[in-house]
């Protein structure tokens, strides 16, 4: 059973978003990390990159595959989790905290509200299982 914290918002691409003011922290969900397997590298955007919603902002490389990661909300990258360069396994071990990937200054802070709630994401997972 996947861990799905209630205070976060979720995308159907299996990213999570935590909103503080107009800044959203973004990572991949427990379900996503479990599906990918051992993460060995994360290709990240650079601070200052401006991206639109649903645009790929990087990729997660596990032992057997590379998966794109999509930005659920439009905005500008204001911080990147450099710690993942040395410890990409944090995405597996602690996807919702140490495994965060980027912080985005949202163009439209309301955009995150339209994402799935924890309950909706759980339903989405069970429906697609």
């Amino acid at each position: 059973m996947s861990n799905i914290p209630e205070n976060l918002r979720y995308s159907k691409d299996h990213e999570w978003v935590e909103v503080e003011g107009d800044v959203a922290s973004i990572g991949i969900t427990d379900y996503a990390q479990h599906s990918l397997g051992d993460v060995v590298y994360i290709d990240m955007p650079r601070v200052g990159d401006k991206l639109s919603a649903h645009e790929a902002f990087g990729s997660v490389e596990s032992v057997k595959a590379v998966s794109e990661i999509f930005l659920p909300v439009a905005g500008e990258i204001v911080e990147v989790n450099d710690g993942l360069n040395d410890a990409p396994e944090a995405v597996n071990n602690d996807p919702y905290s140490a495994g965060w990937m980027v912080k985005v200054k949202m163009d439209n802070p309301g955009e995150a509200d339209a994402m799935l709630s924890a309950v909706e994401y759980e339903e989405y997972l069970s429906a697609s299982a």
């Binding site: 590298y41 290709d43 650079r46 990729s59 490389e61 057997k64 595959a65 590379v66 794109e68």
Partner: protein, 444 residues
């Protein structure tokens, strides 16, 4: 690949099973007006003895193969020990393709790993790939890699880089975002000096050393200038034997070293097939093109060779792949590996030293001939530019027809402002007798 012969009745059976009556129907989807619709214009079949006679007659026309030659300019005459040809002819090595379950071919992966290790040691870099097509395409891939790493598109390349390399790279990158800017070389030294084109839009500074004129560039200075603007420093090596003697590009600050491995025991042929070298620093490895072999240990602690970071490659990552170079010049890389391992560290140094000393002797003797001088003042390895008293095409033609010597390459072929200059290359295959004959031919 197996050879599976089939008889006319088997062919008919196959056609019937796909609902056709004639093999020609297989090509129906090709427009009529581009189909050949006639037999190929080739000669009638010959008996084996006739083929041999025809081939021998053709080979005899290649008088260049027996004349003393001082041609270099990217393809070099070096001695290749017999063991190289002997070992690569083992049938296990006959395909350049790494199988789709590559780890089943431990022998192939092991030699690729050894090749990579040797290239790292010679270039002074941390990682090298399993090879590229040739030096020029390796250089083009370095442009693309520098663009990926820096997210900039301006490539500053010296005009003292081999003109054909620059042409290939221009073609290769034609439809991409690269903006290629040329910088001149100093007419006195033959080295790159004017770096004013470098700016904060520059992805890479690309130089060759020894350069097209044989001049050894001041790599440390160029590396510092590239790094000062946040650009990568790309060093191209067309004469790999020089790595046996000169300070490695890596030790001089190179971020990417690309080159041609033909000097490592590969015949000159008609300019191919050769093998491209590509090495970089580990921090850039995910942006490096090409296959990469690594070492891993299984759960019992046994060593095995593996393809590593394959997720950069097209068969896994499709259009997002770092490059589409997945199949390397496997057989040629194998030959180069056997050459390097046969020569060893001391042997390579010895060959390099012989090249440098013989070339220095030749340069000194030529410079003493009335009307001749060495065109550039920078230090050289085994190649140098001679400025003659008249057109170099005429000088070389006289040597060829009257003295039976291929004296070098007319620089005017690529640099129209240098009609009297020609490039002379001296390797360990040139005897003192060859060199003295060249001097005599020039003196007349």
């Amino acid at each position: 690949m197996r050879y599976i012969p089939n008889s006319p009745s088997e062919r008919d059976e196959m056609l019937t099973s796909v609902g056709l009556t004639n093999a020609k129907d297989l090509f129906r989807s090709i427009p009529e007006d581009v189909q050949l619709n006639r037999a190929l214009k080739i000669t009638e079949p010959l008996a084996e003895s006739e083929v041999i006679a025809a081939m021998e007659a053709m080979a005899a026309k290649n008088s260049a193969a027996t004349k003393p030659s001082f041609l270099g300019a990217g393809v070099y005459s070096h001695f290749s020990p017999t063991i190289v040809d002997h070992l690569i002819q083992r049938s296990e090595f006959f395909t350049s393709y790494t199988p789709y379950q590559p780890e089943i071919s431990q022998g192939t992966l092991q030699y690729i790993f050894e090749f990579q290790t040797l290239i790292c040691q010679l270039t002074g870099m941390e990682v090298a790939n399993a090879s590229m097509y040739d030096g020029s395409t390796a250089m083009a891939e370095a442009y693309l890699m520098a663009q990926r790493v820096t997210r900039r598109d301006k490539i500053v390349v010296a005009t003292s880089v081999h003109p054909e390399y620059r042409e290939v790279a221009r073609t290769y990158t034609h439809h991409g975002a690269a903006e290629i800017v040329s910088i001149p070389f100093d007419e006195r030294t033959g080295r790159v000096s004017d770096l004013s084109a470098l700016d904060d839009k520059t992805a890479a500074l690309v130089v060759q050393s020894p350069n097209f004129f044989g001049c050894v560039e001041n790599l440390e200075r160029l590396a510092a200038a590239a790094h000062a603007v946040g650009a990568l420093f790309v060093v191209v090596v067309t004469e790999a034997i020089s790595l046996g003697l000169l300070k490695s590009p890596g030790a001089c600050g190179a971020d990417i070293v690309v080159g041609e491995g033909q000097s490592f025991g590969i015949p000159m042929g008609f300019g191919g097939p050769h093998v491209g070298l590509f090495a970089t620093q580990e921090k850039f490895v995910r942006n490096m093109p090409g296959r990469l072999c690594g070492v891993a240990y299984d759960k019992n602690g046994n060593r095995g060779f593996v393809l590593t970071l394959s997720t950069r490659e097209q068969h896994i990552r499709r259009e997002k792949a770092t490059s589409n170079i997945c199949t390397n010049q496997g057989l040629i890389a194998l030959a180069a590996t056997i050459y390097m391992e046969t020569m060893g560290r001391k042997g390579l140094q010895e060959v390099a030293m012989q090249n440098a000393q013989k070339a220095a002797y030749a340069a000194k003797q030529i410079a003493a001939i009335d009307g001749y001088e060495i065109a550039f003042s920078a230090p050289t390895f085994n190649e140098f530019v001679v400025r003659g008293p008249r057109g170099s095409v005429e000088i070389l033609e006289k040597l060829r027809t009257q003295d039976g010597i291929i004296g070098g390459l007319s620089v005017s072929k690529y640099y129209s402002d240098k009609p009297n200059e020609f490039l002379v290359c001296v390797t360990e295959t040139n005897t003192k007798g060859h060199i003295d004959a060249l001097i005599e031919g020039l003196s007349e």
